[in-house]
């Protein structure tokens, strides 16, 4: 599974979900605050380094996850590159022209996208969905149905991935090869995506039925086997990150990064 919780003992695994959520929000705030490609690149590097060192997520796995985004990021980059106005032209062909300002803006928004995705990805792979539900319900007093909804949403991508793998295996054991050429690929994706969605909906219905059969939603509150208490390390990390973010906010304003 590429995007699903993986148990482990890294520092990020040991931090409670809410403290980690604070770190995630701080990173998101910084991506919004930074407005140059250089600043966004530094933040992405920092997030990637944090994922590797504190979360134990390998470089390869980070790359595999971020490769998902390339299909969206590249067109967005090109569009921004060609549409943001600027005064210093780098390249021109007919009506198309690229400016320094456009290149900076395109790099900035694209890198921001990668940083937000990477940090969310690291949060998902280092956070037990069950702990997240407990923390949201017990500490933030979020209604448990809503918290479970978030938890189920976190498991939806792995579910789609699993269904995709299963359907692909079903086709392959019957002799179907990977499609070649645009026409075959389009035909394959049509069949593949429709089968995945069909099966995913079936699985969701089954899961909803199974949850109901075990009394889910019967009462406004529920109990939890495990309490989710904030870890001292998590609290220190959260407070530290907020302070660093505030300092960077001020510094970014000074150096115009």
């Amino acid at each position: 599974m590429i995007i699903s919780y993986q148990g482990g003992g890294s520092p990020l695994h040991r931090i409670d979900p809410l403290s980690k959520l604070v770190v995630l929000l701080c990173i998101a705030v910084l991506t919004m605050r930074l407005h140059t490609s250089g600043g966004q690149a530094l933040l992405l590097l920092a997030a990637s380094f944090l994922a590797r060192m504190a979360g134990g997520v390998s470089w390869r796995r980070q790359w595999t996850a971020m490769a998902f985004l390339i299909g969206f990021a590249v067109p967005y980059f090109v569009l921004t590159l060609l549409t943001v106005p600027g005064s210093q032209t780098i390249w021109q062909f007919g009506v198309l022209h690229i400016t320094t300002e456009g290149a900076d803006a395109a790099g900035s928004v694209t890198l921001r996208m990668f940083t937000v995705f990477l940090s969310s990805f690291v949060y998902m792979v280092t956070t037990d969905p069950g702990d997240l539900v407990t923390a949201l319900t017990r500490r933030l007093k979020v209604p448990y149905r809503f918290a479970f909804g978030i938890s189920m949403a976190l498991t939806f991508l792995p579910l789609l991935q699993e269904e995709g793998r299963s359907i692909s295996a079903a086709h392959q054991v019957r002799g179907a090869a990977r499609p070649k050429g645009i026409k075959q690929r389009l035909g394959w994706w049509k069949v593949f995506v429709s089968a995945i969605l069909h099966n995913a909906v079936r699985r969701i219905q089954q899961t909803a039925g199974a949850m109901e059969a075990k009394g889910f939603g019967a009462y406004p509150e529920r109990t939890f086997l495990r309490e989710q208490k904030p870890s001292p390390a998590g609290q220190i990390t959260a407070v530290g990150t907020v302070l660093i973010t505030a300092a960077l906010w001020w510094y970014i304003h000074i150096v115009n990064l």
Binding site: H171, G175, A213, K214, G215
Partner: protein
């Protein structure tokens, strides 16, 4: 015993857009605290009954219900969710449809948490439930890392922890290994001794049915027989055998019929129009037996001619670090029929998935006709190897039974073309297989609407439609009645008669041992036992 646990009066049920009722006019009463087994062949309405008891039908699953259903005086179609969960817990056959949290412990805690049970009591219930299904050691394991049988045991634990007054097991022991099945029967006895109402549902007159106080036999959506198990076995053995709920080695043999073996079993064609073997032969699907070359299938043994499949010191560890196989070696020749046995989680499915290339095969570990299959694409192996999944639903790729059956025939240049016309020979062969599987009347139905036995048969004929050198079948007979199992084995014999080799994961060794040439038993990922069986010895003797 006090009061009534289950009361059904003139219960009928119709699925949406289906004219024929799945259940019609069922009336019965199960007293509180009784241990009852409901058995019946595929399509007799057992699972429909369970879903009506759980309230899933018609509340969420739609359809039309007539008549009365009462569980401890509540109607599951209308009662509040909490009331139903406290009264009745139902374990279904497919564990994947019941597990919602992803970790064994969380699954067991989920129900009590919803019912606001205090954490300390949840803890003791979870411990007790996991101990009852022998999963204490896997308490923190992600469900996706468990075998099919272990997942089923998790589903059972998730219901046990609810501590309901009544527990219904809908073929919940089908994918369990023999030891776990024996433990399951013990569990039913214990729950019964605690005063709970226990209902087991199965396609077979299994050990749970023999241990029950009462057996209710369904057929065609109605109650056919009702009585104590020993009484039914004494008075209605022939009838039970005809239905296919008795194993072949019992059946008519002990009732004075032909002795033992296949002759004592209702043949696959006994209840539905089925083409004669000649028809299948002419369609190229079956050839006369006794043309099967014997194989030297010993692990690592030196064959007279090159093996089809050779496994050399195969070890495999999942990416999470869980070791699944260690130093497994064996070989298979054309015509060999291997039984792969072992407890749940012993590595059987992992082994077969590796053989099919569905998991990354370590280099120099698996050879197909002398060639290392490491890195070989699955579709390339699929030219020679047919693979039948444990859960037939995982294999389905089309929307109708007919399209599902002929899918492989429409593959051209490695890609399926929906409009590809079949040749008259292909159509004839497909028709013959459909008839042999008893599915001629279901060709336009969705594969998902078939009974479990029919689904298994469809998944098998979907592979047999294209002749292959080796067929790998993952628990093809689990969870289906003996009539469907015999039908399925007859199809396998047809393939074997053409010289194909078969490797079959099974928890039903007695069903297959007459046909098998060797048995390979795994234990904790290692070969625990290898034995050649009678058929290969007879063939070897005939050869020399």
């Amino acid at each position: 015993m006090q009061g009534t646990s289950i009361e059904l009066m003139e219960l009928s049920y119709w699925y949406e857009d289906v004219e024929q009722p799945a259940l019609h006019g069922v009336s019965l009463t199960i007293p509180a605290g009784q241990f009852t087994a409901v058995i019946g062949p595929g399509g007799s309405g057992k699972s429909t009954l369970c879903q009506l008891l759980s309230g899933y039908l018609p509340r969420s699953g739609g359809g039309r219900r007539e008549g009365k259903v009462q569980l401890d005086a509540i109607d599951p179609a209308e009662a509040p969710i909490a009331e139903i969960a406290k009264v009745a817990g139902i374990v279904f056959q497919d564990p994947d449809a019941q597990l919602v949290r992803g970790v064994v412990e969380d699954e067991a805690a989920f129900g009590p948490e919803n019912l606001r049970v205090p954490p300390a009591e949840i803890e003791s219930r979870v411990e007790e439930a996991l101990a009852a299904v022998n999963l204490t050691a896997r308490r923190r394991s992600p469900v996706r890392e468990l075998s099919g049988g272990q997942r089923q045991r998790t589903a059972i634990a998730a219901v046990l922890s609810l501590s309901p007054r009544m527990i219904v097991f809908d073929d919940a022991s089908a994918s369990l290994d023999p030891a776990a099945q024996a433990q399951f029967v013990q569990l039913c006895r214990r729950l019964h001794a605690e005063g709970r109402t226990v209902v087991t549902v199965s396609g077979r007159f299994d050990d749970a049915a023999r241990a029950a106080e009462r057996v209710i036999v369904l057929d065609g959506g109605a109650v056919l027989l009702d009585g104590a198990p020993q009484e039914l076995l004494r008075t209605s053995r022939d009838r039970l055998a005809q239905l296919g709920v008795l194993p072949p080695w019992e059946g008519a043999a002990e009732a004075g019929g032909p002795a033992g073996g296949r002759r004592g079993v209702p043949e696959a064609g006994a209840h539905a129009a089925e083409p004669a073997t000649g028809t299948l032969q002419s369609a190229g699907m079956v050839t006369a037996p006794a043309k099967r070359p014997p194989g030297n299938d010993s692990p690592g043994g030196a064959p007279a001619s090159g093996p089809l499949l050779e496994v050399r010191n195969l070890s495999y560890t999942y990416p999470g670090g869980q070791e699944a196989l260690r130093d497994v070696s064996f070989a298979m020749h054309p015509g060999a029929w291997g039984m792969l046995t072992g407890e749940n989680g012993s590595g059987k499915t992992t082994l077969t998935r590796l053989l099919m290339g569905l998991l990354p095969v370590p280099a120099r570990s698996v050879y197909w006709k002398g060639r290392d299959v490491s890195g070989m694409p699955v579709h390339q192996l699929a030219r020679d190897i047919g693979y039948v999944f444990q859960q037939p639903e995982h294999q389905f790729v089309e929307h109708t039974v007919w399209d599902e059956l002929v899918y492989s025939l429409r593959i051209r240049s490695g890609w399926r073309r929906r409009q590809t016309e079949l040749t008259p020979e292909q159509t004839e062969a497909a028709e013959a297989l459909l008839a042999a599987a008893g599915l001629s009347g279901r060709r336009q139905d969705s594969p998902y609407l078939l009974s479990q036995g029919e689904k298994k048969l469809l998944s098998v004929i979907g592979q047999l439609i294209q002749p292959k050198a080796l067929y790998i079948l993952d628990e093809p007979t689990s969870g289906i009645d003996y009539r469907a199992a015999q039908r399925l084995l007859k199809l396998c014999r047809g393939a074997a008669a053409q010289g194909a080799a078969l490797l079959m994961i099974t928890h039903d060794p007695r069903l297959v041992e007459e046909d098998a040439s060797f048995v390979l038993r795994l234990n904790h990922g290692m070969v625990e036992d290898y034995r050649q069986l009678g058929r290969s010895h007879e063939l070897m003797q005939a050869r020399f």
